[in-house]
């Protein structure tokens, strides 16, 4: 395996260096142990390890989202089993270079938002900063305590043709990927534990510990135990997985803009207990989306009034707003000189050669060499991609030049670097692919310096010779190993951690609402599956010669299904009853049909993904398999037989989800809200099924079948037989399903459960008066306890309908609605956060 890689490297005449192989086909010393290992295990085992790595990541639910692709949500994260490797000597240089660059960028940042001496003295052109969208005038003169303004820094590095590492991009606004780095390492450690140990790949965990310490050092409020939220744009963001992941393991609260509000100058988290003060915001929302009052007024991802809270120093935002001005390729052209000026040092890590068109000589150079350069806008907006001059037609080149001439300071030309290849496991063999390494640097405010993560996120291109490496275009991630012990270990004793950032349990109202719905959709789906199974069985067994509307059992089942799923008119229509197949199939797998099983499961998944930081890893695995099952169900459901099979699979998975949560979830409001949703839904469905199935008395054979199906839908047939050891009778069935407090499927049990969970929630003081929602429940419970079982189990002699039972159940359903509304009002009402911009639109007129 290694041999052919080396030979290929020797004879392919490609301009790139390779990380493992020298041009002469030898192996670099720091790769020898790995190469030996790969050779030893051979490609078959390697293939198995590759799959194992993928499985680990899938099981941990590691995903990312691709924009603009309907199937782009929750794509599995791809990890190459072959890491990117640095030896300790080279790493020392890279680390030094990164520290120097971070220090330098930090000084530039402080200057730009302060005295601007660098601009006044001509070290940085005025146009390069004032035209850049990341230069936020609103952030002028706002400083964090101390010298460090840039807290998190990342850069993309690649090895250039001279063998040195070059900086391709600086990331200073809200750098992403560190969460994935941790997951990559975790997966690799599980699959290659010995290899990692033997090669002394350095641990990367200190990165987040430093970050935590820095946060508690910097915050001005509540230093001992600050409340930290991670502000995420939401579940559709590309890297939402890691927002949830980082929140979970760091003990931050995952929040979206709508969860936060500014009042009294403070930022508050809306929780089910009420408002809770926020001390620190780690933002993953882009700068100008963070406060619609002062920046983009149509942004709904931010917090209205955030800048004012920042000015009043009542909240700490990391990275501070304004850092994006450093994500500016034009700046690269000036860094060497600024480094000499500010630090008295040469820049250690070179940037990609950059010509800023804001200067006439440089613009001329760019125009003359445009065919061999990458043209980039200094401000990375949503639409502005890198342009390869060589790819453009004559007309396109002319248009580009016109555009550059119009706003020269907005453009740079950059050299196309032939960056090095690294062995990658592709198509079951080692192939050379160009790779980019993303580094992570974080401020250590206690020691007033920066720390570099000894590792990071590397990515290689899926195609050979491709220079754009990103997840959006299908890049493959790699773990990054720095080999050998660090030379300059400052102290071997771990410093005492200043603060543990103790996690106080808070539940944002929005998260609470999603959990409530998660519970509801879970039960809705489970009840749908059970009733559908009965219906399909009955349909398959039905005598084809008898019209369905003359078959009381089947027509009752079908109509109950319509009522329970809320899909009227459905089987109340004669034509659907006559020919039920298409409606039945739609009820199973049409994800766009509100009330269908697929719709309920999709809604269940959507709610689950948005609270994924609250769910255990194992739960994510179940969710993934439910998602896969749903996809299968939608794809293969052409016949009712197939549908029946997938129903069986689905119900088991849904119950597994619930079962796992019983084991895993701490008994906090999260758990209680999930259960309140669940029991409200099951109580309501219980009522609807009883009402629908046992609406009317038919011949004794049909009655028996309907009672049996009703018990089955509630998983209570065995209990019934065990308990009564007799024929099915209405009296017994209703006792068991409505009145028996020890049957977990009975209505009274479900209502009592709602109350049990409800009374543990905040703002339910038992000593005081009962809350509205508990009063409604009490009324429902009492109605059932007082009902006379003999009366409700007898049908009206004239109509043959069970009027008394139906009337009781209708009252219970009504009370459940009122309970639900009142819970909503109390705990979730401030999730309604519609807002709009007002502007004295009267423009100056005269």
């Amino acid at each position: 395996m290694i041999e052919s890689y080396l030979i290929d490297k020797m004879f392919n005449n490609e301009p790139f260096l390779d990380e493992m192989a020298t041009d002469q086909g030898k192996i670099h010393p720091h790769w020898e142990s790995l190469a030996r290992y790969y050779e030893q295990i051979g490609s078959e085992r390697m293939g198995q390890f590759h799959e194992e790595v993928g499985r680990q990541l899938r099981e941990n639910g590691v995903t990312y989202n691709v924009y603009g692709d309907p199937n782009g949500m929750n794509r599995p994260w791809i990890l190459d089993p072959v890491p990117m490797v640095f030896n300790s000597e080279e790493w020392e240089g890279i680390e030094k270079g990164l520290l120097q660059r971070t220090e330098l960028l930090n000084l530039i940042l402080s200057d730009l938002y302060g005295d601007q001496t660098l601009i006044k003295e001509g070290h940085i052109p005025f146009e390069l900063i004032y035209n850049h969208g990341g230069f936020l005038r609103q952030a002028h003169n706002i400083k964090l305590e101390g010298e460090q303004q840039l807290i998190q820094y990342s850069s993309d590095l690649a090895r250039g043709p001279n063998g040195k590492m070059w900086v391709l991009h600086d990331r200073t606004d809200a750098p992403s990927g560190s969460g994935y780095t941790f997951e990559n390492r975790a997966a690799m450690t599980r699959v290659f534990p010995d290899l990692i140990r033997e090669n002394h790949a350095r641990k990367i965990t200190s990165y987040y510990q430093t970050f935590k310490n820095t946060l508690s050092n910097l915050t001005t409020n509540n230093k001992e135990n600050p409340r930290v939220v991670l502000l995420s744009p939401g579940p559709t963001n590309e890297t939402f997985f890691e927002h949830a992941y980082i929140s979970s393991f760091m003990g931050f609260t995952l929040a979206f803009g709508e969860d936060l509000t500014v009042s009294d100058g403070y930022v508050w988290l809306k929780t089910i207990k009420g408002l809770e003060k926020v001390d620190v915001i780690i933002r993953r929302v882009d700068d100008v989306f963070c406060d619609p009052l002062e920046y983009k007024n149509d942004s709904h991802l931010g917090v209205v009034g955030l800048m004012e809270a920042v000015r009043q120093r009542k909240v700490l935002v990391i990275n501070p707003l304004g850092c994006r001005v450093l994500e500016n390729p034009g700046l690269m052209a000036f860094l060497p000189e600024i480094s000499k000026h500010l630090l008295g040092e040469d820049l250690i890590l070179p940037s990609v050669a950059t010509w800023w068109c804001g200067q006439p000589t440089e613009m001329k150079y760019v125009f003359e060499h445009i065919g061999s350069l990458v043209i980039r806008n200094i401000y990375r907006g949503t639409q502005k991609k890198s342009i390869f001059g060589g790819d453009l037609s004559k007309a396109e080149l002319q248009a580009l030049k016109r555009e550059i001439r119009r706003s020269p300071f907005m453009y740079v030309g950059q050299e196309m670097v032939d960056f090095s290849t690294t062995p990658s496991w592709i198509n079951n063999k080692l192939e050379a692919r160009n790779a980019v390494f993303r580094s992570y640097v974080v401020a250590d405010s206690e020691n007033k310096n920066y720390k570099v993560m000894p590792g990071g996120l590397s990515r290689s291109s899926p195609e050979k010779g491709a220079f754009l490496v990103s997840n959006q275009t299908g890049g493959i991630s790699k773990d990054t190993w720095v080999l050998g012990k660090a030379k300059d270990t400052v102290s071997l004793v771990t410093k005492p951690i200043k603060s543990q950032l103790l996690v106080r349990s808070v539940l944002p109202s929005r998260t609470g609402e999603r959990l409530f719905w998660l519970g509801r959709y879970l039960e809705r789906a489970a009840y749908s599956v059970r009733l559908m199974r009965m219906t399909l069985l009955s349909y398959n067994e039905a005598d084809e010669d008898i019209h369905i509307h003359e078959n009381p059992v089947l027509s009752t089942l079908l109509q109950t299904l319509t009522v329970m799923t809320g899909t009227l008119p459905g089987f109340t229509l004669k034509k659907n009853l006559k020919n039920p197949e298409s409606e039945l199939l739609a009820l199973v797998h049409d994800v766009y049909k509100s009330g269908s099983l697929a719709y309920s499961i999709q809604s269940f998944l959507t709610n689950a993904y948005s609270v994924r930081d609250r769910l255990s890893l194992d739960t994510w695995r179940i969710l993934d398999s439910i998602s896969e099952e749903l996809a299968r169900m939608r794809k293969s459901n052409t016949t009712l037989t197939q549908a029946y099979q997938s129903l069986d699979n689905m119900v088991i998975k849904l119950m597994a989800f619930y079962g796992l949560n019983i084991d895993n979830m701490t008994r906090e409001p999260t758990w209680h809200l999930l259960n309140i949703g669940r029991f409200i839904e099951s109580a309501a469905n219980n009522c609807l099924i009883l009402k629908g199935m046992l609406n009317k008395s038919f011949d004794s054979e049909s009655n028996k079948e309907l009672m049996e199906d009703t018990l089955r839908c509630n998983e209570s047939l065995v209990t019934y037989r065990y308990r009564y050891r007799s024929n099915l009778e209405m009296h017994g069935v209703l006792s068991l399903l409505i009145l028996h407090e020890d049957n977990p499927r009975s209505l009274i049990f479900q209502l009592l459960e709602i109350d049990n969970h409800l009374k543990t929630l905040p703002n339910q003081d038992e000593k005081e008066l009962f809350s509205t929602e508990r009063k409604k429940l009490l009324e429902a419970i009492t109605k059932i306890r007082l009902c006379d079982i003999d009366t409700i189990s007898v049908a009206n002699q004239l109509s043959n309908e069970f009027d008394a039972m139906t009337s009781l159940l209708n009252q219970i359903i009504g009370l459940l609605h009122e309970t639900s509304d009142s819970i909503y009002e109390k705990y979730f009402s401030h999730t309604d956060t519609r807002y709009s911009m007002i502007q004295s639109s009267a423009i100056p007129e005269i």
Partner: protein
């Protein structure tokens, strides 16, 4: 001249709003030729927090929030301002520096960024096609900057028709240029584009101007509006103000409130309100000449 200005903004919501955050740019600055004798601002309902700040461009502004349910929001700014003849009235246009020299000076580190920032494009002041050709008809080679500027001011006044209702906040400059119609804000933005495209620093000025009723008719209360004009940087004379809408070199009748790159920097009142409903807004401005009373 001495004026009393009353600027009232009213928002009426269909359903109560629970919370709003606002920024208000209505506080006139104290200048050597603008003496602010009185300024007060009344907000109803009473704001929960209220902080006066200075922005990046040197303007005073008010941040305030109302954190309880309200169906109306009223902001009433009242000021008494005495204006005297500004120093630029004494400038002899023909003796000012050739405009190209000003451009050179601006584009070097000799000029401060506070001045240089006003020669860049901004959201509402874009260098649309044809605009430099228009500008260069006034800014002929070697022409003294003040002379050229007065000429441009007059040309815009004659070429553009003052037409209320044709434009709104979002109307692009291209459309204003094409139809040569608009209100004072459009006149100002267009003037700024002409100057910046050739490399001069020019900024947007928001403020008030007394409107005079037709001869023989009484002046109506609240019939005035806020006004906008521009200021050009002329070395040695600082910022010199021109009003293309009225073909004027600004004298002692314009009351200044705020300066910025364009309207967006100095919107008199903007905010975010938490309310699902529609809203209605009413603005009234009253400028009284106190010397005539």
């Amino acid at each position: 001249m001495k004026y009393k200005v009353t600027h009232i903004t009213d928002y009426i919501y269909e359903f109560p709003a629970t919370l709003c955050h606002n920024l208000m740019f209505q506080i006139p600055p104290e200048l050597s030729f603008q003496n602010v004798e009185e300024y007060s601002c009344e907000i109803s309902p009473k704001p929960s927090s209220e902080i006066e700040r200075t922005d990046f461009f040197g303007n005073k502004y008010l941040y305030f929030s109302v954190e309880r349910s309200h169906k109306n929001l009223t902001v009433k700014s009242k000021s008494v301002v005495e204006l005297s003849t500004p120093p630029w009235i004494a400038i002899k246009p023909a003796e000012t520096m050739p405009w190209e020299k000003v451009v050179d000076l601006l584009h070097s580190t000799k000029s401060s960024t506070d001045i240089r920032q006003y020669y860049l494009e901004s959201n509402h002041v874009q260098f649309v096609a044809g605009i430099s050709v228009y500008a260069l008809k006034s800014f002929t080679p070697g022409r003294p900057i003040m002379e050229a500027m007065l000429d441009l001011n007059t040309r815009i006044f004659h070429d553009f028709a003052f037409t209320p209702g044709f434009t709104d906040i979002s109307t692009p400059l291209e459309k204003v240029f094409k139809h040569k119609k608009g209100v004072c804000q459009d006149f100002a933005h267009f003037s700024l584009a002409c100057l910046r495209v050739i490399g001069l620093s020019a900024r947007y000025v928001s403020g008030y101007l007394e409107t005079l009723p037709p001869p023989g008719k009484p002046k109506l209360i609240g019939a005035d509006a806020s006004h906008a004009w521009i200021a050009v940087y002329i070395p040695g004379h600082d910022w010199v103000e021109f009003d293309a809408t009225n073909n004027l070199l600004v004298n002692d009748k314009h009351i200044r409130v705020a300066v910025g790159r364009d309207f967006a920097d100095v919107t008199p009142l903007k905010g975010i309100v938490y309310s699902g409903s529609e809203q209605e807004m009413r603005v009234s401005v009253d400028v009284r000449n106190m010397e005539e009373e």
